[in-house]
């Protein structure tokens, strides 16, 4: 009995089921996460688990070209994290600039009011 042809496929299937449950839990974490960074961390984790699932599928289905998909998936996962973080920082800076501008206007307004009262 060759263990690599008889015993390995069930082990890989079990590993994929566990990984899929983990990915579902991480998705729930991404939905629950109160802040943007929690969500991005969870999405990054889902990417890693998807890469592991694809690596198991390579052997389970005997399709070697799936490894290329795993490489491309790793690249896109990184790209998604980079773009999302940069986008969030940009949005925060815009919000900050608008906040500052309105505060400055409010301060100037208040000073004028004070002068009027004086």
């Amino acid at each position: 009995m060759d263990p690599l042809t008889t015993l390995a496929p069930p082990v890989l299937t079990a590993a994929m089921v566990i990984l899929a449950l983990c990915a579902l839990a991480a998705l729930l974490r991404a939905l629950l996460g109160p802040r943007m960074s929690d969500r991005i961390v969870a999405v990054n984790m889902i990417g890693t688990q998807a890469i592991c699932i694809i690596a198991c599928l390579v052997l389970r289905l005997r399709e070697d070209w799936l490894v290329d998909i795993a490489i491309v998936y790793a690249m896109f996962s990184f790209l998604a994290v980079a773009v999302l973080t940069k986008m969030d920082i940009g949005v925060y800076r815009q919000w900050r600039a608008a906040h500052r501008k309105s505060r400055r206007r409010r301060q100037a307004h208040g000073e004028q009011q004070g002068r009027d009262e004086a």
């Binding site: 802040r35 690596a55 973080t85």
Partner: protein, 132 residues
Amino acid sequence: MIWHWLRFILGTVCLGFGLFFLVSAVVGNYRFKFALNRMHAAALGDTLGLLGTVLGVCFYEGLCPTTAKLLAVIALVWLTGPVSSHLILLMELTAGPYTDPQGTPDAQGLEQSSIDHDRHALARSQREEELP
């Protein structure tokens, strides 16, 4: 045949090792409360979890070009993982509640954290001057 049994056992041990770390990454992500703590748990799965799982598949697969590609996946994730962690940290420090002088979205949670707020607020005010 003994060689095949050896490969199967080694691969299963590696697979179990990797799965343990991937599961513990998810558990840690639920148990920790703040994004910077959660990054620590997620990095565990990103490094050791991926290494164990992919190495287990490599042992099952044997020596062939596919194995080299699987190792390339590990190398790629290990190269990009620290960069993405750094970006998430940068985002958290720029827009996070730890250092925000006005708006603290979850102030009651912050009081329970062990982060040194004064030090972070000082760093934040220094960074604010550099911002355009």
